[in-house]
């Protein structure tokens, strides 16, 4: 492996201290804890790309764009495997 990918895999900067409204502090903390740090395709640091979180029902979706390989995709943390629900 050349030095280049190591440079790209540098540590994500520490999140600055914020004081979100009390009722949403847990969601804000969860975002900082769980957002993907690295591209799913090339492994580069996503700090200079973008990671936006949105919700679909109970799923938390992290929409990512990698500046290095231009990958666009969603990462969804799984807490419980859910199959089709009957009607």
């Amino acid at each position: 492996m050349t030095a280049e990918p190591f440079r790209r895999l540098r540590a994500v900067p520490a999140a600055p201290k914020t004081s979100p409204p009390r009722e949403f502090a847990a969601d804000a903390a969860a975002h900082l804890r769980d957002r993907p740090r690295h591209c799913s395709r090339c492994g580069a640091c996503l700090a200079d790309g973008i990671v936006t979180e949105y919700w679909v029902a109970s799923d938390r979706v992290f929409h990512c764009w990698c500046r290095h390989c231009f990958w666009v995709g969603d990462v969804i943390p799984v807490e419980r495997m859910v199959g089709h629900e009957g009607t």
């Binding site: 979100p20 969601d27 975002h31 957002r35 919700w55 929409h63």
Partner: protein, 423 residues
């Protein structure tokens, strides 16, 4: 939801910031042409910089930082002369390119003038607005989007809002808000206060879509009772990257312009052209421009018209919306896509490339896709636009109303004549 550093990156527009560098690749309206015809120099603020814009007697425009390079006095109080602007304090004179061409109190044959040029930008007139470019050279073309050059009766409502421009742009890729903010909420107010809310905004959205194109994002909506052949889906209308939105329908075309004044202020312009089919458009010497009020005397938002409702949501999100505590859903994917687009274009600028929507080729007009039959409301849409939108504050409101009514009557008369002839 974003991290706070990403929120900062997207919303800081001043010199030296990433977003500021991206935004300095575009032209912005800074004053009305009429204002410089009445008095040839005016102070303005753009992207966190205080500027003066001026018009010399030969009809050329100039723009440069407000502070004189000599002792920092305001050039907004300068005198405009044949080759540029002269500072009132000690008479230093600067040409359109920012070169210092006179220092009356200095000795002759000094090279001092060459050390103190002003950081001038470019300024031009288009469609009754004076546009400024304060980015790196070579300056791109000033894009001649269709609304600025089309025939019709022009009308410009405007106001300065105490919020960051990104939260206004996010609204442009949020179709669902229409049926709620301008539909259900309008209906609620109408019931409370005893007036009739416009019906065309109340239709339910069945699906929405967002397509990237060379000038931004085309937004499409499929409304209940409509098909994919209806204009709202088939044609849609665009967010024009990075700070505009093109809308229209029923013989009205409009560019909504959101100029980033600084991190926490946006100059919001509703540049509108009325041209209903069959109308005889009267000649217009000056384009009427007027302030659109959005707060009442008690300091509450005025929410009984469409743009007042939008403004309420933009301003109440705060000077810079805190995206670390928001909760986006699937219906907000347009917002997610727009943020990605800003981030992609930031990267292009950092790589030394032109970002999306920068125009280098000479052109007469840039046509933009925009639905004609808005919400399936036909000509009725224009009257609702005038009565229950910002146009109710226009000094030419009655003229505009008559223009659309006369055009509709003339269309109806033509249709009757053809029907009779066909029989």
């Amino acid at each position: 939801m974003l991290s706070s550093e990403l929120n900062e990156t997207l919303t800081r527009v001043g010199p030296g910031t990433s977003m500021g560098e991206l935004l300095r690749r575009y032209w912005y309206p800074v004053v009305f042409a009429r204002q410089l015809d009445e008095f040839p120099v005016k102070r303005t603020r753009l992207l966190g910089e205080d500027l003066v814009v001026f018009k010399t007697p030969d009809g050329r425009y100039g723009v440069m930082p407000e502070a004189c390079p000599h002792r920092r006095a305001s050039l907004a109080y300068g005198s405009v002369e044949s080759e540029g602007i002269r500072c009132a304090y000690h008479g230093w004179k600067f040409d359109h390119e920012g070169r210092c061409i006179d220092q009356p109190a200095e000795m002759d044959k000094t090279a001092f003038k060459e050390r103190v040029s002003a950081d001038a930008g470019r300024a031009r007139e288009l469609g009754g607005l004076v546009w400024a470019y304060i980015g790196p050279e070579p300056a791109p073309q000033l894009p001649r989007y269709d609304v600025y050059v089309m025939e019709g009766l022009r009308d410009i409502g405007h106001t300065t809002l105490p919020c960051n421009f990104i939260q206004i742009m996010e609204n442009a890729v949020d179709p669902h808000h229409v049926e709620w903010l301008h539909g259900r909420y309008f209906q609620f107010l109408a019931q409370q206060h005893g007036f009739e809310a416009p019906s065309s905004f109340q239709r339910r959205h069945v699906k929405v879509a967002f397509d990237e194109f060379e000038h931004g994002i085309i937004k499409r909506r499929l409304l209940e009772g409509h098909t994919e052949e209806d204009d709202d889906w088939k044609v849609g209308h665009p967010l024009v990257f990075p700070y505009k939105m093109r809308v229209g329908g029923g013989g009205v075309d409009q560019m909504q312009i959101r100029v980033p004044v600084d991190d926490t202020h946006t100059w919001f312009l509703l540049y509108t052209v009325h041209h209903p089919e069959g109308a005889e458009v009267p000649e217009q010497v000056h384009i009427p421009e007027y302030e659109v009020p959005w707060l009442d005397e008690d300091g509450n938002h005025i929410v009984d018209y469409v743009e007042g409702q939008d403004i309420m949501t933009w301003v109440t999100q705060g000077p810079v919306a805190d995206r670390t505590v928001e909760h986006l859903g699937k219906s907000d994917v347009g917002v997610v896509q727009l943020r990605r687009m800003y981030r992609e274009q930031l990267a292009r600028v950092e790589e030394g490339e032109d970002p999306l929507g920068v125009v280098r080729d000479e052109h007469d007009v840039i046509p933009l896709p925009c639905e004609k039959d808005k919400f399936g409301a036909g000509a009725e849409f224009a009257l609702q636009w005038i009565e229950q939108g910002f146009t109710r504050y226009s000094p030419q409101r009655e003229t505009l109303r008559k223009l659309h009514i006369d055009a509709a009557s003339s269309e109806q008369a033509s249709a009757t004549v053809s029907e009779t002839r066909d029989r």
